[in-house]
Amino acid sequence: MAQNPFPLGKDELLKAYRTMRTIREFEERLHVDFAKGDIPGFVHLYAGEEACATGIMMHLNDNDRIASTHRGHGHCIAKGVDVHAMMAEIYGRSTGACRGKGGSMHIADLSKGMMGANGILGAGAPLICGAALAAKVRGDRGVGITFVGDGASNQGTFLESLNLAAVWNLPVVFVVENNGYAESTAMEWAVSCDSYVDRATGFGMPGVTVDGTDFFAVYEAAGEIIRRARDGGGPALLECNMVRFYGHFEGDAQTYRAKGELEAIRASRDCLTILSERVVEAGVIGRDELQAIDREVNALIEDATRAAKAAPLPAPEDLLRDVYVAY
Amino acid sequence: MLNERIKPIVMPKWGLSMSEGKVTGWLKRPGSTISIGDELLEVETDKITNVVEAGETGVLRRVLGEPGTVYPVKALIAVLADPDVPDDDIDAFISAYAVPASEDDGDAEAGPQYHTAETPAGTIRYAKRGETGPTVLLVHGFGGDLDNWLFTIDALAEKATVYALDLPGHGQSNKQIADPSLSGLSKAVLGFLDAVGVERAHFVGHSMGGAVSMRTALDAPGRVASLSLIASAGLGEQIDHGYIQGFVGATSRRDLKPVLETLFADRGLVSRQMVDDLLKYKRLDGVDEALRALSASLFAEGRQASVLASGIADARTPTLVVWGEEDRVIPADHAQALANTAQVAILPGAGHMVQMEAAGKVNALLKDHIAKAD
């Protein structure tokens, strides 16, 4: 094997690949099963964007908090939420991460620092300011990462949070996942100042744009930004330019896309392909090793799906449980 | 126009915070001949309703207090006089009567009505009344405080120096109880006496306070001049577990009121204010833990852990045992444990809070006992 030229060890590279592959497989499976009508409600898939969640989360521990979006499966998996519990949650089962009461848009696991996917766009930003404040008050060097789509970055909550984080010098990283579309609306039209870095600059914090389909680009930039935040350097914004392989939600015909757009991005901007080509080409990881991971992930998702479908529904009395601490 | 043969009956002052009372009804008609100790009327305060007993003899010549009307403390509500005192004199007396300025108004400005002492068991709140005669210490029971001696302290203070304290975990004393046993409480009481410079006192203990007093008499006999045990714990195993559990567990008026009613023969004596005051006490930080620790230590599983009767019988400390016949918390027959060595009085028509329900009789017994033992 060649000398490893990457900023991560082989085990870490394998872990990153496994995470990205798990997200991809999880989402692809949901895509198929949703079309069959197996899944209640609606789901927003993260496929295509895996490098962003993974590149960032590789720098975090359970003490660091993230606030996610409606498109949260990838963040959950990368932050270490149990895949079985996630799948069961999406199927509305009692074994789900939220006992079947949250669903796809509200998967959370606070023990892993995952403060919840969020159905309200932009709502995670103030929450993560609070998480970062808690870390600051405790002095535990924890950081808070909030993810926001290009569209929700227009929310007042997000902009107010940039200001609050700067004023309080909180260890927060605002990650803008720019997949070009706010639901169906082009980012270019909906975001007036055109640049997230400009927005960050306006609030007195640095902003960085990286190619969100390049795991290493995200990993490296996030590493610097997170380390800066941990060291008390304050908040920063990270824009990841990336691509969404599916619609806003499942069932979206994506008629707003240009002809050939999807085919083109799948061919040239698939972050999983980019990563695996890079590591195989460098001779650090063998293609067979990646294929072995693919098989394991496939089995895991298959098992999680089978288990979720077989899991018990919540009991009727669960309807009234956990509204308050007691009474 | 002082006429010594005309004796005013005034609105009594029960306890430090009482400033007024409502006449709820007269138990004697005008013209009745009154003896000392006769029940004259009922007065309701924001804390409690009780009977005003006659302290003098005479004919009830005038009844001035209208039922349902609130009068300030020391307001003239009736006049006693011998039959031969002319009506004109009585009318003149009434028209000349002026409510003495409340001494407490001045006191409240001059200094605190309650005191605190720093002791090894923490801050202890206490009240002190009287300056002469023997020293008396009043020790309240489980969940009580020094206001349990509302009708006792001023009566005894006429001829004694009376201290009443809040035990640790109670009233406004420190809420932490380092040692929630009778010995622990006894040490706290002795620590308090040290802090206020009292070497020896006549102990008057109610319920758990009786057991604490007995424990002290056994452990430090030199400091206990006599024992007056009122509805005392420590004389038998039995105790109403429901009361203890109910008292500890209650967090609302609805829960607490029926519990408190078991303390009295006359359930009607439990006023809104009494319940509210106890709830306010129970809500204070540390109280719940203190009460639970005490009940676990002293009354676990509904039995009293310490029975001290034989030790006290042997110790020969001059002892008075008083009980309300209708006590539903600790049965009155526990008094029999000391029947051979102590003066025993079982009072009819009273429950566990006999010193409140039959205050006049209990006070008379206490005065007599303390005078004899001193």
């Binding site: 709502a123 007042g156 909550t157 | -």
Partner: protein, 344 residues
Amino acid sequence: MSRKISMKQAINEALDLEMRRDPTVIVMGEDIVGGTGAQGEDDAWGGVLGVTKGLYAKHGDRLMDTPLSESAYIGAAVGAAACGLRPVAELMFLDFMGVCFDQIFNQAAKFRYMFGGKAETPVVIRGMVGAGFRAAAQHSQMLTPLFTHIPGLKVVCPSNAYDAKGLLIQSIRDNDPVIFCEHKNLYGLECEVPAESYAIPFGEANVLRDGDDVTIVSYGLTVHRAMEAAATLVKDGTEAEVIDLRTLSPIDWDTIVESVERTGRLVVVDEAHPRCNLATDIAAFVGQNAFGALKAGIQMVTAPHTPVPFAPSLEDLYVPSADSIASAVKRTLSPKGASPRIAA
């Protein structure tokens, strides 16, 4: 030791004691310290009406001035609560709820349920409510019904200093989000309050006055109006039982129903607007669960269905008065009391 202090002092004291007891308690809000970053004194304001005055000197940076940015800092308080702190966020006037309600009703109120009972959000949002302060339509509302409508929120509205201290301490210790409504016209009202810490449990109404003829239920400022009304009704031989709800979520249904079962008559007084408020809620509950006990139609005394007017002469008509409460009681006592009336 008990002594007389105002409701404002009682709230200050509750915050002080809880910050002393628990290092995870932090207090934030606009100008709660005052003058942060400015050249003048530290602790320049201590809150717009001085409720938090002096706490900065005792607790330093655990008192945090915020930008005028309710959505961000209320959300941050919620997020910090979900991460182990016990933040008390002052929302100066609860009328400002409009700009940050999402953080409260979609986030804080839902975490426990939506995350399957695996999240706690021990946050307190406290602020001023109520009319009578000449503060006009956007600084005077009693928005309590908006909050009681939301499952997961607890709603508290004390009527006096003693309750304010004990309920605020309970709110801080409670593991659910609490909206703590402080009637600005009660801030100066004094009563006996122990210096020590104590917590008043939620869901226990306070019966301020016993009576067998009619039950008057209220909360906040109008409790005092109800007591005034009860005092005047005595002259007619009417003894009113006055119930101060203290907490609106949870609400003490038992005390209300038990009282109505005894009195047979109910007057509910609510400073909120008349539609879908606490008065209608309680009236409906009693109508459904204690109809047999009722001797007369339930009367509701509320603010009118208008914004709060500015002109003092109009605002004085806005808040339910002792007279209007007494009249409502008389309606329940008259033979016609049972007939329906249309409220203003």
